[in-house]
Amino acid sequence: MNAVQPLDLAVVGIAKSFGAVQVLHDITVTIPDGQFVTLLGPSGCGKTTLLRIIAGFETPDHGTVTLGGQNLLPLPAHKRPVNTVFQSYALFPHLRVKDNVAFGLRSRRLPEAEVHRKVSDILEVVRIGQLADRYPQELSGGQRQRVALARALVNEPEVLLLDEPMSALDARLRHEVQVELKRIQRQYNTTFVLVTHDQDEAIAVSDRILIMNQGRIEQDGTAEEVYERPVSRFVAEFMGSANIIPAKRLADHRVATAFGELAVATIPAWTSGTVAIRPEDIEVRHVAGPNHLPGIISDRLFRGDHWDLIVEITAGSGTSTIAAVSAPTLRVSTEPDQVNRVGEAVFLELPNDDLLVLRD
């Protein structure tokens, strides 16, 4: 195929409704050639529909999808230079592994010698060369997943679409496949578009994460960006366990919360909204710092690589102009070697540049 000029995938103004339900609202995104992009979001956010539109299994109501400038929408699924790894793998049950993998090549009538060479090469890449003569139902979940990957990759697609490919695997295997997937993506330097609802998976493999919610892209950035600097309450909650704190703006860099007054690094665009902080960004101290809240540790859980602390904030730090939330507690995580007692009085330091001002 045409590998000389970069084949950027451009999705412009895509909208799609199923009956009265609009599942995609005006999605526009450009994916540079060779990028590993993840569409991350809860079920029903439209991520799979977007993937199916790129694959050619759904037709959008509006918008275009182009690859290297060529409009993909007029092409039926079997004529697009795009291949899919299906959620349930969708292997052909009546074909051996090698014939499953050869399917796309034979559809395109490649010479049999070339088919054999490419199939055995790709089976080595995904490390299942010894399983070539098996039938799909004689394989484990992880092996089937590799066959599905090989069957798509062997066609050397310009874009590989992966629809929750790891949802049927157990946690340990999933981690193994994530590493493998990243290795293969680097090796082939192909654009990968992964759909998942698993934020750990998204963080592990992606160059870039598009967080989707209710048919819109909520945030677009690298894994670090969407994790460390969520722009909205939805992203902050979806990417791990952030403390979400309702707040009112007092001055440009000062907000009032139910816990007390706090300093923030960015200027809120609202007068009344929310701020958020990750449990691991809160420091537990015994002396008051510049942006502190006093509290008492009410519960603790050992998680192996860290401690989860629940800290009840004791009132009195500044004048609260916000009605107290039902349980004025913050979740804090600390290093495993930092042992705190339940009932201990501490000062929580909320570094102002980690205290994120959300847009809603």
């Binding site: 694959a55 050619g56 299994f57 039926p76 699924a77 079997h78 004529k79 795009v82 291949n83 899919t84 299906f86 959620q87 349930s88 969708a90 292997l91 052909f92 049950p93 009546h94 074909l95 399917f103 796309g104 559809s107 395109r108 039938y135 139902q137 069957r151 798509a152 066609n155």
Partner: protein, 301 residues
């Protein structure tokens, strides 16, 4: 070393093992013996016996009935029996093909409806099968009769002479056969179409499969078990069926079923009837084996 067997920590011996095994398969074995193996043995024995002068059975075993079945008789070889068998095979094969051709789209159409409708539609397909075949076939006589609307229309359009009926005839026979066998084709087809994994069909398209390749590997390979079940359930009963041909075909042609019935009735030649029956059983088993072999190769579901 003592040759005692220990199973689940308890000492046992071969006799006990045998008895407990027999106890487990016993019920099934008894059932099979009474209703399948026994009658089949009786049929086989009878098939190789001879007819006495007055229609009695003489228990002398020979291969005479085999030769008679393929056409060798007192007056040399005549093709009549083979023609009858061939005609039955042709009728059964065409009936089965038509039932599959009609049943396949019907199964897809039903599987595509809402859950509520699917149950109702399957019931509509199955209900006629609850009515006795002879009664249903007589009903076709009424429908195709010379004063009923279909015949009146055909008379008006000039397809048949005035005051003629739409039966007896080949078309009426196939109409009757299809209406008799279609439910048995639709049900297994529907079952396999309903649990079709559409993502496999999408995978075939995704992997550059054109319409035929997508159908062949995406759909056909998945519904093969249903297709085989439908073929077995229509082909084998229609091989032996003769009521429909008699009532709607005007009893002009003999089928294997007629021939067998004749031996046990008018001809009073039970051994030859048994041989013909045995032949039918063997032919059915052979076609079953061919289908199952095809199935084990294709339908790896």
């Amino acid at each position: 070393m003592k040759s005692t067997l220990v199973i689940d920590g308890k000492p046992t011996n071969r006799l006990r093992l045998w008895l407990s095994g027999l106890g487990l398969v016993g019920a099934g074995l008894l059932w099979l013996s009474c209703f399948l193996i026994g009658p089949l043995l009786a049929l086989s024995l009878l098939a190789f016996a001879s007819r006495g002068d007055y229609g009695d059975i003489i228990w002398q075993f020979n291969l005479e009935n085999v030769w008679r079945m393929v056409g060798f008789g007192t007056f040399g070889w005549v093709p009549d029996n083979l023609l009858i068998i061939g005609r039955s095979v042709v009728l059964a094969t065409i009936t089965t093909s038509l039932c599959l051709a009609l049943g396949f789209p019907l199964a897809f159409w039903i599987a595509d409806r809402d859950r509520r409708w699917r149950v109702l539609l399957i019931a509509i397909v199955m209900v006629p099968a609850c009515v006795n075949l002879v009664i249903r076939t007589y009903a076709w006589q009424l429908i195709l009769g010379n004063h009923a609307p279909p015949a009146v229309f055909a008379q008006w359009a000039g397809f048949i002479p005035a005051d003629a009926a739409l039966y007896p005839g080949q078309a009426a026979v196939y109409l009757g056969m299809i209406s008799a066998m279609l439910p048995f084709a639709v049900l297994p087809l529907y079952t396999s179409v309903e649990r079709l994994d559409w993502s496999v069909v999408e995978a075939a398209r995704d992997l550059y499969g054109g319409p035929w390749r997508t159908f062949r590997h995406g759909i056909l390979a998945q519904v093969t078990p249903g297709l085989i079940a439908a073929t077995i359930l229509t082909l084998i009963p229609s091989l032996g069926m003769f009521v429909v041909s008699d009532l709607l075909g005007g009893a002009k042609y003999m089928l294997v079923g007629n021939l067998i019935q004749q031996q046990f009735g008018a001809a009073a030649d039970w051994p030859f009837g048994a041989m013909l029956g045995l032949g039918l059983v063997v032919a059915s088993l052979v076609s079953l084996l061919i289908l199952l072999r095809w199935g084990s190769r294709e339908g790896r579901i």
